[in-house]
């Protein structure tokens, strides 16, 4: 049974001041309407995972880890590997998250990101097959938001993309094809077969204004949300409208035009950041600092 999402109560005067600023083309944190917060992406901060990432989107922090395992393919897709996405929203990220069975919001978050990556065919799943119909690679992708300052969807999508790009696939040698016996050689690895980098862009509607990358406060005063997934070729590959408001036709069309430009920007961010940022334990000091 789906009821209300718990939201913080924002005073009317603050809502009014946010809308007034928007009418002048400005936002609380000084951004323009269609501007992202600063994005930092770190690859492989977790050594025990096969691939991992930490994304900082302004103050929003999301950690993503990928664990590989070998399993049986689904009966209807014997020639494809598979990936499973899961998001866990714990009180570490926000006082409004609770422990317990996955909430509707966490299921939506995982499924929206999953749909974007899957529809865009980012990973060539056919290359994850070891023995057709018997043994394939399974990617368990887990999303852990650790600080929710708004727009968890885009931050999580960036995190998943970065983690996938940093995942190393061990070599699997077939010992007995008939009985499905294989041997995993952990030291010989190859990167995952990636076709192209998709992008996920989320807009919120606050009053009559459409803004990109909402912060936590903006999410709390917004009436509706729309998330676009774009392939690396600039095609639309997934959509999700969320929250209890609606969008006019013109507003949807505006968000596609802006979304396409932002998608390009995000794609470049991912490749640039992954190329230049440090990997491994060094990351921890940068993110959380040394304790004094």
């Amino acid at each position: 049974m789906i009821t209300e999402i718990k939201k913080e109560i924002i005073s009317k005067i603050q809502k009014y001041s946010i809308e007034k600023l928007l009418s002048q083309g400005k936002r609380l944190d000084g951004r323009s309407l269609f501007e992202y917060r600063e994005i930092k992406i770190y690859a492989n901060p977790i050594e025990k995972a096969n691939g991992s990432s930490l994304v900082m989107l302004g103050n929003t922090k999301v950690m993503v880890g990928i664990k590989l395992s070998v399993g049986e393919p689904f009966p209807d897709t014997p020639n494809e590997g598979l990936f499973i996405m899961h998001a866990e929203l714990t009180p570490i990220a926000s006082p409004y998250f609770e422990l317990g069975p996955p909430s509707d919001y966490s299921i939506e978050l995982a499924r929206v990101v999953d749909r974007a990556i899957r529809s865009a065919e980012m990973i060539d799943l056919e290359k994850l097959v070891i023995i057709p119909g018997k043994k394939v690679w399974m990617l368990n992708i887990d999303i852990y938001p650790i600080d929710d300052d708004g727009n968890l969807i885009d931050a999580s999508a960036l995190g998943v993309i970065a983690a996938l790009l940093s995942t190393e696939l061990p070599k699997a040698e077939i010992v007995d094809e008939e009985n499905g016996v294989i041997e995993i050689i952990k030291d010989e690895t190859t990167p995952l077969p990636v076709r192209g980098i998709p992008s996920v862009v989320t807009f919120s509607k606050v009053g009559d204004y459409i803004i990109v990358d909402p912060t936590y406060i903006e999410e709390n005063v917004s009436s509706a949300r729309i998330t676009w997934g774009f392939t690396h070729k600039g095609e639309i590959c997934s959509i999700q409208k969320g929250e209890s408001g609606g969008f006019k036709l013109e507003e949807i069309k505006l968000s596609i035009d802006v979304g396409l430009k932002k998608a390009e920007e995000l794609r470049n961010k991912v490749t640039n950041q992954l190329a230049k940022n440090p990997r491994g334990p060094e990351v921890w000091e940068i993110i959380f600092g040394k304790s004094d």
Partner: protein, 257 residues
């Protein structure tokens, strides 16, 4: 979405006729009925081709647990469930992640239309049961739920109407069946409040170039208006019948059963 599967299954022949004999812009046979159940405050049955969905509305009623109460408006609760026999292979009775997500998006599709601030401190509950699934269950659910809300006499800005638009190669298609949903190139379910022109549900699976997507939106808009007409006609028919029965001093139909 998989090229190989597309080659095996022909979704549209060279004359532009779809696998079930429809043209690209043709809806499946649409059947709507309101007031089909006795106990709920409002109910509706919607059939879009082989997809059959039942919706029931209770409320405004007391909220349990009480801490969910809102001081300024009613809360809306939606449960979308599929019966175990609605699909080819028996569905497990526990709610799946898909059902939880759909409950959420259906709730958010209906909520903008309902005047929840008329009933503070209460709950309005919508229960949806998919009896048979053949593609487009969420769109049929929204159509049924909005009829059931009207049948329950819940004040609304307008009815919510919904349809899925899809893509097979270069052609846009309307109201996808299961086969087209699975093997087509894109599936875009959408819902709108035709009276205010607001889109309240928009999702997509598959790939569509942006310029084609705008066309899909316009076609969706027009198709939703058709469904809206049918919803209005269904309600009008039902209540005119009641009016006639009252005028001729007969017991209303609901009591007779």
């Amino acid at each position: 979405m998989n090229q190989k599967k597309n080659e095996e299954i022909i979704l549209m022949d060279e004359n532009g006729i779809r696998s079930d004999g429809r043209r690209w812009d043709e809806l499946r046979p649409l059947r709507m009925e309101v007031g089909v159940l006795k106990r709920p405050a409002g109910s509706a049955l919607v059939e879009m081709g082989k997809t059959k969905v039942l919706a029931a509305v209770y409320g405004p009623k007391e909220i349990h647990p009480k801490h969910l109460t809102l001081p300024d408006k009613a809360i809306l609760r939606v449960a979308y469930r599929m019966s175990t026999f609605s699909v080819e292979e028996r569905k497990k009775p526990q709610p799946s992640r898909r059902e939880i997500e759909l409950s959420k998006v259906i709730k958010e599709a209906l909520e903008p239309a309902i005047l929840l601030d008329f009933f503070p401190r209460t709950a309005i509950e919508i229960y949806i049961l998919v009896l048979q699934a053949d593609g487009g269950t969420r769109t049929a659910s929204i159509n049924a739920a909005s009829l059931a809300l009207a049948d329950a006499g819940i004040p609304m800005k307008g009815l919510v109407s919904s349809v899925a638009i899809g893509r097979i190669g270069d052609s846009i298609i309307v109201d996808l069946n299961d086969l087209e949903d699975k093997y087509g190139d894109a599936d875009i379910p959408m819902a709108m409040i035709p009276i205010t022109g607001e889109f309240t549900l928009l999702q997509m699976d598959g790939i569509v170039p942006p310029d084609m997507f705008e066309k899909c939106l316009d076609i969706g808009y027009k198709t939703i208006l058709k469904i809206h007409e049918e919803q209005k006609r269904t309600l009008r028919e039902r209540y005119l019948k009641i009016k006639e029965e009252v005028m001729s001093n007969k017991k209303p139909r609901r009591e007779q059963r």
